[in-house]
Structures are given as structure tokens and as C-alpha cells.
Symmetry: C2
Subunit: 222 residues, 2 copies
Amino acid sequence: MTAASPKPSTSSAEAPDPAPRPRTMSREARREQIIEATIRTLAARGFARTTLTEVAREAGLSHGLVLFHFETKEKLLADTLGALAEEYRDNWQAALASAGPTAAEQLSALIDADFAPNLCTPDRLAAWCAFWGEAQSRPIYQENYGDKDAAYNARMEEICAELVAEGGYTAAPKYLARILRLTIEGTWLDLMSMKDPYDAAEAQRTARICASILFPKHFKAE
Amino acid sequence: MTAASPKPSTSSAEAPDPAPRPRTMSREARREQIIEATIRTLAARGFARTTLTEVAREAGLSHGLVLFHFETKEKLLADTLGALAEEYRDNWQAALASAGPTAAEQLSALIDADFAPNLCTPDRLAAWCAFWGEAQSRPIYQENYGDKDAAYNARMEEICAELVAEGGYTAAPKYLARILRLTIEGTWLDLMSMKDPYDAAEAQRTARICASILFPKHFKAE
DNA sequence: TCTCTGATTGACAGTCCAGTCAATGGCGTG
DNA sequence: CACGCCATTGACTGGACTGTCAATCAGAGA
């Protein structure tokens, strides 16, 4: 008889959810909970040592339930990557939508969005990193992954083209956009992989300085 | 005298070694052969699916022999990363040593060294990538990995500091060095992970354009 | 309260893999 | 030519992990 009656449910270990969780949850809520546990596991153990048992333990569930909701480990990981990509895309698109219409404002919003504190967290960066390392040899992951990049890159290049038209910069927009993107992505990797890393604020500062060098008429240093 | 005289040994499957391989090899030669097979396996299958059996098959050896030479899988992978880091370091240090003494020449040599055709190969980039993804959760790999970065970064920053002193650029050398390094590293990742990637020559061009924007008095575009 | 639906569990099976080890065989040396 | 050393092999083991499945349980509606 598991049937513990009052159900203290004190230490639920992972989700800092104040509401006492019901024993059964809706499909969507449970899937989200498991995906969050997967992100945490990827961050803590890396891709190679991420097991269903560990994900289930992290979520406080049986490992059978993980497979009940995601069928296979492959699908769980693909859906996790998909969720990461979706929240990333939603974040920068929302930032662009609520920013001013000028190219300079758009680019500024895009840079800030990439360092949003709720997405640019150690767990999420580490999970991205884990997929990054594995994606090159797994077509399944490249799909979700490359698509995200494509839309972002295209928008970034448009903005850079506008800035070039306005400011008369000599370099081609394609390269300006690429250098800016690589600097932003690169600081993420630094945050993860450097022995003595700087923090997210310093990363953001690096990106802004990069913008100020590439487009000196539009952005001032600091 | 390795004494292998007739020894047909026709299809040796992997190493394009023209010399007929003897049945037994010196410790060092065998280790190198296995490390090369490991790099190929990491590139083809990723970190998570790299098994001793697959490495052995790639090298044309029994998997017992791999463990005879490296004791454990962990040590094999750590030594492989160490070998990659060493050849990378040797490469850029040799390039700096044989380049001219001015800061501009040094930086130019450093950029070219990073795209040396014998090191900037798909297999090696993919192997780096595989370690990249796993290193964040594995202290063993961070050691070899972070040390390499440290020396390179320090030298890059010195060179940038000289260029700033010469050219009177406004940005701090620390950020200039970082942006340049991130652009170089980033193009490597692009070569691996993009859906529709450009080639190594285009990557090198991107790095040179970056240098020409950061240090316009020292580098001309194209 | 009873019943039905669907979430949840945990034991189990099959597979794959790292690491062990006894036996083999090639090569240099005496 | 014989011996001994050491590289090499491949079968074997123990463990870990993914995926299956029958039984259980919680909640909603009648």
C-alpha cells in the first residue's frame, strides 16, 4: 500500500513548485517536467552519460513513465532540443517585436535577448553544449538545430545590411552578421568551457563592444 | 628492421600507409595508429556512440589490443584529446616562430595557422567538437582543453596589445583578442554544425576580415 | 459509491559494452 | 635453431541501460 494518506510531499527535490503536485498530471505538464529534468541531467552529466534512469530520478519519477510519455530515449532528446530551440526562437522574436523599428534598435534588442537571464542559465547553456557536440554526427538533431540558426541568421543579416546602407560601412553585411553571431555564440561557449570563465554580464559587454567596433556610427563603446 | 618482407597485407583499410605493416608494431607507433582511429570514430559517430569495439574495427585491430595499449577507455579518450591539443599547440607556436617579428605579421601567422589544411580537417574538427560538448561535465577533459586555450589566449592578447599601442585603437586588447578568437573558433563550429556550411577558405576569409575591421591600420580587407 | 479511463509503477528481458585473462604467435637474441 | 618476451587475439564476465508489460492506482463522471 503506497497510499500514504496526508501525503506530506515536502521534499520534491527538483521543481521548486510551491503547489503540491498531484499524483497524476496532464500529459503536457508531465512532459514539460521531464524535459526540464532532461536539461538538468544533460548539464550535470553530459550527453554520453545521460540515461533514462537518471532523468527519471532527477524528475522524481519512475523510468517507465519517461518512456510512457516519450516512447524512446531518442525522441525524448529530440523533443528536449526542440523545446530549447523553440524557447530560444520565441525569445529573440519577441524581443525584436517589442523593440523600436530602427536597425540599431533591432540589433541592440537582438544582442540583449541572447543574454536574457532566464534563458542564458548554466543548465541551459550546458545542455546546448551537449547537443552541439553530438549534433554533427546525428541528423535528427541537426534538423531542430540548423533551422533555429537559419531564421536568426537571416534576420541578423538583414539588420546588418540596413546598418551598412545607413552608415556606409565597407565590409559586406554577410561577414558583419557572421562575426557578430560568432562572438555571441562564442561567449556562451566560453561561459561553459573556460577554466576561469567570466560571467554573463561580461559576455554581454563583449558582444556590445563587438557591435560598437563593427558599427561605430551606430553604437558607442559602453 | 621490422623485417616484414613479402607480407601481402593488401587491404589495410584505414591508414594510407604505403609500407606493409608488420604484424607487431612498436608501442608508440601502435598508440598513434589507435589515436588516429579514435579521431575518425569520434568524427563519424560522436562521443556518445564511440565504443572500443568500433575504434578497434576502424584501426583493423582487436578491441583487446586497444585496452592493452591504453588500459581504459577513459585514458584512450584523454590521450586522444591530449594528442589533438599538442599538435594544435605545436602548430601555432611553430607558425609564430617562423613568422616575422612585427605584431601584424605575428597575428597574420596565427590566423593562418588556425586554418592549416593538415589540422583543419573535417575529422579533426568533428573530434574537437565531440570533446567540446562533453568537456563541461568532465574535469579530465577540461585539463587538457583549458591549458591549450590559456597559452594561445595569452599570446593573442599580447599581440593585440602591441597592435593597439601601435595603432591607437580605442577598444581594450582583452576584448579585441577575445572577439578575434571567438570568430576563429566559431567558424570551426560553423564548418561542423551548419546545415549548409561554407568551406575552410571562406572561414579563413571571415577571420581575416574580422582582423581588418578590428585593426584597420594594420590589415586591409582581402 | 461504482466504474472506467488513463497515468504510473516496478519487475523483467534482451542487448551492448568495458574490462579480464588465458592462449597464441611473431620477432629478436643468444 | 631454440628460447623468451611481449604484442596480439578472442572468448568470457559482470554490469548498465533501453524498452516491454502486466498490475496498480488515482481521479472523473455517472
